[in-house]
Every structure is written in structure tokens, then in C-alpha cells.
């Protein structure tokens, strides 16, 4: 009898703990779901491909192949947390990439060309942020103008691809820092540094807290938060991330190409949403977007391992996006009911 009671009480207390955890950390659950999906994907691929999938080489390649996507996803997370959206990232990446290649071809030193291309990305972001904050333009339309502008400018710089032969830029890609069979490239390190900086800024700075507040409630200005400055800043951050992604992609492909990144904004948004950031704003984690990009990259490489058509990637990502939106809606509805 007593043992039964004790079992009953512990169950109740763990249940209570579970409920407390749920209500306090409801916003982190979608990210946990993404981690679970990622683990399932790895296990499934390992079984299905008879133990050929999980190898140090493959895991290392995942970071290398998706470094540009990861950088874009960090910038996008900031924007989406403020309840905005940035459709321009793919075009900004193409524009800064081809402009960088053009400057390097003309003999400009990378020490000047790289900062210049980052500033180019920042200016597009500044334009979008200004339209959103000071002219009350919907983020969707403002970043649409940014998309058109950057894509057109990419073609103004050059109509065809430009090969990059500058040693220091190619070094970012060709260097492999090896630990056993694992390796990482400077582009991968750069991407992880961006994630670390983004996560730190979001969680531990006044700017990060303002970002969450803006997405949660536009009236936050009443509380003395600098809404205008923060709104413009997130688009500038996204633009700079676009510039960095342009650098990484140029190093990765060894050339600038004005047609790069068509539709990349959709992949980035999908990865961020799968990583647990809510499109309605106010909730989301930079580390979640890291997981989201890994889910995206893993699906892509599983499909290429299976030798199936790459078009399946888009279909699977679309389905997964739908699933995650459903999960998020359920979680948000539950946590709202609780409060």
C-alpha cells in the first residue's frame, strides 16, 4: 500500500515538473522537435543505407556544403523574431558574391573588397529596414523591393560568372583543418562563429531582448525600448549575413555567378521555421536555426545518396514545413491556454 502510494506521488511530482517545464519553456519545444527529427533522420539514413551514412567525412561535409545557408539563417532568425521577413537574402548573396569576384578580378586587395561587399549587403538591409520602420511598408513588400534591386544589381555587375583566383579567398574553402577523419574549413568556422555571435546577441544582450520584445508586441516602445533602431538593425544584420554568405559561396564555388541563390530565401525561411522560430514573431532561437539547416542539409544529402531526383528535396522540405507549422500551432495554442 505504502509503496503504491509512493509510486503514485512520484509520478505526480514528475508530472508536475513536466507541466512546469512545458509552461515555462513552451517556446523551446519546437526546437526539441527539430532535434528529434534530425536524430531520426540520421538513424533512418544509417539503417536504410546500411551504415554508409554516418561517417566523419559526411558529417563534416554537411557543414561545408551548407555554410552559406547557415549564415543566412542566422540573419533571417533575427528578422523573423521581430515578426518580419526578408525575401532578399538569396539575391543579396548573389549580388555581393559577384561584386566581390568582380573587384578581385580587377586586382583590388581582398582586405578592401571583402569589407566593401559586406557594406553592400548592409546597405540593401538598411534600405529595407528604413522602408519597414519609417514608411510603414510591410516587410514582405519592402524586402521584395530589396530582392529585385539586389538581383538586378548582380546582373548589372556581370551577366556571366567570374572566376576567382585570389589565393586568400580560395584558402577559406581549400584549407581543411583535420582531427582524425573529421575536418572543418575556415568557411565552416566562420559559419559557426556567426551562429555563436547570433545566439549570444539574442540571449544575453539588451539588443536581443529588444528584438524579442518587438516581435512579441509592437507597443514595446511604450516601455522605453528602442523599437525603431532595433527594427532597422535586424534588416542590416540580415544584409551583412547576406554579404558573408556571398563571400562563403564565392569561395565554395570558386566563382561569382549572378544567378546564384534563386529561391534560396525559401530554403532559409523553411530551415528557420523547422528550427522552431515562429513566423508570428517573438519566439525563436539562433541555435534552432542551426538545427533547421542541418535537417535541410541532411535531407538533401540523403536524397542524393539514394540517387533519387533532387526535386524530392523540395517536396520533403515542403511537407516537413507543413508538419512543423502544425506542431507549432498546437504548442502555441496550448501555452496560450495555460497563461
Amino acid at each position: 500500500m505504502t509503496t503504491l502510494e509512493r509510486v503514485g506521488s512520484t509520478r505526480e511530482s514528475t508530472g508536475g515538473y513536466y507541466h512546469t517545464f512545458l509552461s515555462r519553456h513552451a517556446s523551446i519545444l519546437p526546437t526539441f522537435a527539430a532535434v528529434a527529427i534530425l536524430i531520426l533522420l540520421f538513424i533512418g539514413a544509417e539503417i536504410f543505407l546500411r551504415g554508409n551514412f554516418i561517417s566523419p567525412g559526411n558529417i563534416s561535409a554537411l557543414l561545408l556544403d551548407n555554410a552559406y545557408l547557415l549564415i543566412l539563417a542566422v540573419g533571417m532568425t533575427f528578422v523573423i523574431v521581430t515578426a518580419g521577413i526578408d525575401l532578399s537574402v538569396g539575391s543579396v548573396m548573389a549580388f555581393t558574391g559577384i561584386w566581390l569576384a568582380k573587384m578581385l578580378e580587377a586586382g583590388t586587395s581582398p582586405a578592401i573588397a571583402i569589407p566593401a561587399s559586406l557594406i553592400g549587403g548592409a546597405l540593401v538591409g538598411l534600405l529595407i529596414g528604413t522602408l519597414v520602420q519609417f514608411f510603414d511598408v510591410q516587410p514582405f513588400i519592402a524586402s521584395l523591393a530589396g530582392l529585385f534591386l539586389a538581383r538586378g544589381l548582380a546582373f548589372v555587375v556581370s551577366l556571366s560568372s567570374i572566376k576567382v583566383e585570389t589565393e586568400s579567398v580560395l584558402w577559406l574553402q581549400s584549407t581543411r583543418i583535420r582531427v582524425g577523419a573529421w575536418y572543418i574549413t575556415p568557411t565552416g568556422i566562420l559559419a559557426l562563429l556567426v551562429v555563436a555571435a547570433g545566439a549570444y546577441a539574442m540571449q544575453y544582450t539588451r539588443f536581443g531582448r529588444t528584438t524579442y520584445a518587438v516581435g512579441g508586441n509592437r507597443q514595446a516602445a511604450l516601455m522605453g525600448l528602442k523599437v525603431a533602431r532595433t527594427t532597422v538593425a535586424v534588416y542590416v544584420i540580415s544584409g551583412v549575413c547576406g554579404g558573408l554568405a556571398g563571400l562563403v559561396l564565392t569561395a565554395y564555388s570558386g566563382a561569382g555567378y549572378p544567378r546564384n541563390g534563386v529561391g534560396t530565401e525559401l530554403d532559409v525561411i523553411a530551415a528557420v521555421v523547422i528550427g522552431g522560430t515562429l513566423l508570428t514573431g517573438g519566439r525563436g532561437y539562433v541555435v534552432g536555426s542551426l538545427v533547421g539547416v542541418y535537417v535541410y542539409g541532411t535531407i538533401k544529402s540523403i536524397i542524393s545518396f539514394m540517387g533519387a531526383e533532387q526535386s524530392w528535396t523540395q517536396i520533403v522540405i515542403g511537407a516537413l514545413l507543413l508538419l512543423f507549422i502544425g506542431v507549432q500551432r498546437a504548442i502555441v495554442a496550448r501555452s496560450d491556454r495555460r497563461t
Partner: protein, 349 residues
């Protein structure tokens, strides 16, 4: 005069007319239309013919935006529709028969309708934000189109199918008649029945219209279905024009141009009041601008820069902040003038 300037179509029409005038002055050939083999030729006719896909997509987008929604999947639906039509014609034994072309077109439109019903289900039944709900199909749709064509660009030689985009009826391009029919159908159902008013009611205040007994769900649902069907027909015209189903290039960026056309026509993205005629003018502005840019010798790949500036000018002109600044300046000038005139009166006395 004042009522003409105040009309909400005044600025879009003024923009279109000034574009046409500038073009006609810069290149006299622009306005000339020649008759050859019982067909009309000329830059203006080309604009009418080439604008058909964008016009169809924009009409659907207008109705969706009026319900406070947005449909990002239109380009993907175009790709799927073109892929379905061409695959059926390609598989049929007699590609030149009118029957197989009609079957292909019907199947493509039906598949588009199914895709529209899916979008409508996500938005109206599950209550997912329109941007996200249609983003799913925007992502997955092109994948589906690629699967249908097997990853290749399917090409066909079928005279009846090519007629859709390049045929002529009564001196004018057949595609132009499709546009006119679509404008008539959308215009009449939205403006000659109560549907238009109900659509605006849903867009202005969904909750109030629901309490007033408007079946918002059905109206939103049918808006997405209509948008997809129109996009499907646009996809067929596009495929007929290039005689191929290109799952990657079909309808690329068209959602963006369609949204631009709707905004240029004076329909607010916040939903509610919409103008079918405005959208038609918006489409013609975009197509004329495209033709102008090509005439200037700018590669078409660079034309987005021009459209970016058009978007920015339009949104800044529409922005409430600019209006309040202008109104303020106007007041300052007027009150200063008023005080000046009183001073004049005083000195005269």
C-alpha cells in the same frame, strides 16, 4: 476636374498613359500597328499578347489579397499546370489532334483547381497564415512539376496547342481574348453580384463579417481556388508560348510581379477594397515598362533594378507618414499665405 484627379484609378492610368506617350515620342514605331496576313502586328499588340499570363495570375492575386491573404504559389502552380498539359500531349499518339489538346488543357486546369483547394484548406480550414500556407506549395510545387516531367524540359510540336499563345482570331492574338474573358468573368462575378462586397467585408474585418453572417470560410477558400485555376491557365499559355514545359523557369518571380501589379492598381495589401480595373492597368504598366527597358538596350536580366525603384516609389507615395508630412507642409504654406493676406488688408486700411 477635381473628381477626375481624385478617382482612385487616376494615378495608375496617368502612369500608363505617360509611359505610352514617352515611348511613342522616343520611338515612333512603338505606336504603329500594321496589318499583315489578316493579323495585327506592333509593339502595342505584343504588349497585349505577352501580358496574358501575368494578367491572369494578377486577377487571381487581386481576389486573394482582397480577402487579406496572399498567394505565393502561383508560379509553382503554373509550372505544374504546364508540366501536366505537355506530358499528356507528349504521351498521346496524335499530338496534333484537337481532342488530346483539349483533354490536356482540362486535366491541367483540374490539377490547378486541386492545388488551389489545398491552399484554401490550409488557410481557411486550418487557419494557417496565408504567406506560410502558400509557401509550402511554392516550395513543393516545383518539385512536383519536375517529377511530372521526369526532370527534363518536355517539348512538343502540336499545332492546336501552339495556337493558344501564338494564334490569331479576328486580327487579334488569341491570348488577348483569353485575357478579356478572364477580366469579364472576374469582373462580372465580383462586381455584378454580391460576392465582391462579401469579399471586401471579409478582408476589412473577418470577425465582424462572420458575426454579420458572411460565410468567410467559403469565400476565402474559393478565392484561393480561383487564383490557382487562373494560374493554371497562365501556365498553359506560358508553356504554349515556349512550346515546352520548363519546371524551373515557368512562372519564376511571377508572384512578385503579380503582387506589384495589384499594388500599382491601387489595391491595398491590407485587404478589403480592391479594383479589378486597377489590376489590369497595373499589369499593362509592368508590361509596357518591360518593353521600354528592352528598347533602352538594357539586358532583361537587369530589369529588376527598374522594378525595384518602381516598387519603392509606389510604397513611399502610399505611405501614411509621407501623407502626414505633405499635409503638414501644405498647412504651413496655407496659414502663412493667409496671414500674409490679412497683413495686406491691414496695410491697405
Amino acid at each position: 476636374m477635381r473628381s477626375v484627379v481624385k478617382h482612385r484609378l487616376f494615378w495608375p492610368v496617368a502612369a500608363l498613359v505617360s509611359l505610352i506617350v514617352i515611348n511613342s515620342v522616343a520611338r515612333p514605331r512603338f505606336a504603329s500597328i500594321v496589318v499583315q496576313d489578316g493579323r495585327l502586328y506592333g509593339a502595342l499588340i505584343d504588349i497585349l499578347r505577352n501580358s496574358a499570363p501575368l494578367l491572369l495570375v494578377s486577377l487571381g492575386m487581386t481576389v486573394v489579397i482582397a480577402t487579406r491573404g496572399i498567394d505565393l504559389s502561383v508560379g509553382a502552380v503554373m509550372a505544374v499546370s504546364g508540366a501536366v498539359a505537355l506530358t499528356i500531349i507528349d504521351d498521346s499518339t496524335v499530338a496534333n489532334s484537337l481532342g488530346s489538346v483539349l483533354v490536356a488543357v482540362a486535366a491541367a486546369v483540374l490539377v490547378s483547381l486541386v492545388l488551389g483547394v489545398w491552399n484554401g484548406f490550409l488557410v481557411s480550414a486550418l487557419g494557417i497564415q496565408p504567406i506560410i500556407a502558400t509557401l509550402v506549395l511554392m516550395l513543393a510545387g516545383r518539385g512536383v512539376a519536375l517529377l511530372i516531367t521526369g526532370g527534363f524540359i518536355t517539348t512538343v510540336n502540336s499545332t492546336p496547342f501552339e495556337f493558344i499563345a501564338s494564334g490569331y482570331v479576328l486580327l487579334l492574338p488569341f491570348a488577348f481574348f483569353i485575357s478579356v474573358a478572364a477580366i469579364a468573368v472576374v469582373g462580372l462575378t465580383e462586381r455584378r453580384t454580391a460576392l465582391g462586397v462579401l469579399t471586401e467585408a471579409v478582408g476589412i474585418n473577418p470577425e465582424a463579417s462572420r458575426l454579420a453572417g458572411v460565410r468567410a470560410r467559403g469565400i476565402i477558400w474559393s478565392a484561393y481556388a480561383a487564383s490557382a485555376v487562373l494560374s493554371g491557365i497562365a501556365g498553359i499559355i506560358y508553356a504554349s508560348n515556349i512550346k515546352a514545359a520548363d519546371a524551373n523557369a515557368a512562372g519564376q518571380f511571377i508572384e512578385l510581379y503579380a503582387i506589384l501589379a495589384v499594388v500599382l492598381g491601387g489595391t491595398s495589401l491590407m485587404g478589403g477594397k480592391f479594383s479589378v480595373a486597377g489590376t489590369v492597368v497595373g499589369v499593362l504598366i509592368i508590361q509596357t515598362l518591360e518593353s521600354t527597358i528592352l528598347f533602352l538596350g538594357v539586358p532583361s536580366a537587369q530589369s529588376p533594378v527598374f522594378f525595384a525603384f518602381v516598387v519603392m516609389v509606389v510604397v513611399i507615395v502610399q505611405s501614411p507618414r509621407l501623407h502626414s508630412v505633405v499635409r503638414h507642409l501644405f498647412h504651413v504654406v496655407r496659414s502663412r499665405r493667409a496671414s500674409d493676406s490679412t497683413r495686406d488688408v491691414e496695410t491697405a486700411i
